[in-house]
């Protein structure tokens, strides 16, 4: 029955039309508007928006925050994936569930939770850290932590299924041939997961650059100090300042590049 339905001309056209208009309304139109406004305001405005000192700082900070978060999540993600795929230990199922938590928890809640733990005045560790001269909240470290949190599952969820599917045979064979755990990781595990890892990293990069909610709460949003590009876009939009469209275009282009990267990686995955 479903086959016949799909073959009939009217429904095929209806489906096609529906799908296209859905994408058009949700994606093409808004993104197109942002580009249109940017073009309208001209090249000069574009250059100005990107070269203002707060923009330059915001780009640098975004690079540092997203870069660090991706690095940490890559190391941590591969570690956790290996842990979950290769070892039995108490609390494994809990860990497996916790990994997915960031997907379902609102980033704003993440931000507040981090303040509860690391906040200067009321947090658990806050006063200790302050005495040690380390700023977490309202400083880049807190922003990195928040970004790490929201992007946490991406690497794990890409790498874990590949590890599970591959099984332990190759690693055990390498072991019997004399390879130490580090040699096994570099020579066997890493090549096995490399495409899944690359995919997870690209997703993490995209997610980390785009993060807004959690970072907004923990950053303090100080222009020129703790303001990432997304926060700056928000400020420009809120204050009807120039630059919101131009910076948005840059973010969209970066996201598009990530998608292109992914489309190159995808065919290799699972091969």
């Amino acid at each position: 029955m479903p086959d016949q339905l799909l073959k009939s001309r009217p429904s095929r056209w209806t489906l096609r039309y529906l799908a296209l208009s859905y994408v058009a309304v949700l994606v093409v139109l808004p993104v197109g508007m942002v580009f249109w406004r940017t073009v309208q305001q001209g090249w000069r405005a574009f250059v100005d928006a990107l070269t203002s000192s707060e923009s330059v700082h915001a780009f640098q900070l975004t690079a540092v925050v997203a870069g660090s978060a991706v690095l940490i999540n890559t190391v941590f993600g591969v570690g956790v994936a290996i842990l979950l795929a290769r070892y039995r230990f108490p609390g494994k199922r809990v860990l497996n569930l916790i990994i997915d938590l960031p997907v379902s928890v609102s980033p704003i809640v993440v931000g507040f939770a981090l303040i509860l733990v690391f906040g200067f005045r009321t947090g658990w560790f806050g006063p200790t850290l302050r005495d040690a001269g380390i700023n977490i909240i309202f400083a880049p470290p807190g922003m990195i932590l928040a970004t790490c949190f929201v992007a946490l599952p991406l690497v794990v969820r890409e790498v874990l299924p590949v590890l599970q599917e591959t099984g332990v045979d190759q690693e055990q064979a390498a072991r019997s041939l004399g390879a130490s755990s580090w040699q096994r990781f570099v020579r066997i595990t890493l090549p096995t997961i490399k495409w899944a890892l690359a995919y997870g990293v690209v997703l993490s990069v995209a997610r980390s650059i785009g993060e807004f909610g959690a970072v907004k709460v923990v950053s303090g949003n100080v222009s020129g100090q703790t303001q990432t590009v997304t926060l700056l876009v928000d400020q420009h939009a809120e204050q009807f300042e120039n630059g919101a469209y131009q910076l948005s275009v840059v973010l969209i282009v970066v996201a598009a590049l990530c998608i292109v990267a992914i489309s190159f990686i995808r065919p290799h995955e699972g091969s």
Binding site: D169, Q172, A174, S176, L177, A179, I188
Partner: protein
């Protein structure tokens, strides 16, 4: 020398995989660990190889205490049922892996790898990836890879289990010949009694985490110590309260000493072999005959004959074994 595993005990949760197992493998021999799946033979092999730790007991390889030594330092060659080929490495790099780990010189590696690839007839495939090889070729590559590091012992876990029947047979013969050439102490796990009987110098039957019997293939086939071993190694039928192999039953046209009267119930011809199913009152034995024997006796359905175990037949009085063993018996015994 060889391998000695002593008082090995291993459990997975509530399941006892190995229960005080003692095993001696003589140096240079090809030993088969035979038994039904779940019987503990693979676990024993993995404990010898260091891929699994025993709960208690010790393993001595080549006279050296190996208990607690990690697998990577046991110098043991391991071959897995599903090849465990390094998928991202060429055949050459697969075989050279252990040598690279051992930081041998380029020239030495090249010589050794080519020597081994010749030995396993894969020299022309050196640059291929494992995915471009057949199952049999992959397993030969895995063997070359394991042999490359000149292991003290070679351990094979169901090495032919994933191959089709024809390739399996070929590789089996080839393994025997290979072993005759390289003489490395070898232990292989199988659940196929024909494979075990055909290839091994020595045979260890394992069931329910215990060793049932150890000996040469002939000893075990002809003198099984219990009905499990008897049933696992070949066909068994029951005659007059005794277990006996169906080809070890004499079919007579007259009543002689020790014979039992029986009536042919059904005759099945399988190629040159004839199977006669009979009704002997208490028991329903079946007998394996050649076509010549059947013709000479002029057997047909309804014929009355007399049966007795042949003179040198091994017979056993069945015992109430563990339920698992009985189940295995039923599946291997007769039609």
């Amino acid at each position: 020398m060889g391998i000695a595993a002593q008082h090995i005990y291993k459990r997975f949760g509530d399941f006892v995989a190995l229960d005080d197992v003692n095993l001696d493998v003589r140096s240079g021999e090809l030993t088969a660990l035979l038994g039904p799946s779940g019987g503990g033979k693979s676990t024993l092999l993995r404990i010898i190889g260091g891929l699994e730790d025993a709960d208690s007991g010790s393993v001595i390889i080549d006279g050296v205490e190996a208990t607690g030594v990690p697998a990577q330092r046991r110098n043991v060659g391991f071959v897995f049922q599903h090849y465990a080929a390094f998928k991202h490495l060429s055949v050459y790099r697969n075989v050279s892996f252990g040598l690279e780990i051992r930081k041998r010189s380029k020239a030495e590696i090249r010589n050794r790898v080519h020597e081994l690839l010749e030995l396993v007839h894969l020299d022309q495939f050196a640059d291929r990836l494992p995915s471009q090889l057949s199952g049999g070729q992959r397993q030969r590559m895995a063997l070359a890879r394991a042999l490359a590091v000149e292991p003290k012992v070679l351990l094979l876990d169901e090495p032919f289990g994933a191959l089709d029947a024809k390739v399996r047979k070929e590789l089996r013969d080839w393994l025997r010949r290979l072993h005759d050439e390289v003489h490395v102490t070898t232990v292989f796990v199988t659940h196929d009694q024909e494979e075990a009987l055909e290839v091994s110098d020595s045979l260890v039957v394992i069931n329910h985490g215990r060793i049932e019997q150890v000996g040469s293939p002939n000893e075990l086939y002809d003198h099984p110590v219990n009905d499990f071993v008897m049933g696992f190694l070949g066909p068994v039928t029951e005659l007059n309260g005794q277990l006996v192999r169906p080809h070890d039953i004499e079919v007579l046209s007259t009543d002689l000493t020790g014979s039992v009267q029986a009536k042919v119930h059904r005759l099945v011809r399988i190629g040159f072999e004839v199977r006669a199913e009979l009704d002997a009152g208490d028991s329903q034995p079946w007998v394996q005959l050649t076509r010549g024997q059947a013709d000479a006796l002029e057997l047909e359905t309804g014929s009355v004959v007399w049966l007795r175990p042949s003179r040198d037949a091994s017979t056993l009085v069945p015992q109430a074994g563990p339920p698992g063993a009985a189940a295995v018996n039923r599946t291997t015994v007769g039609p």
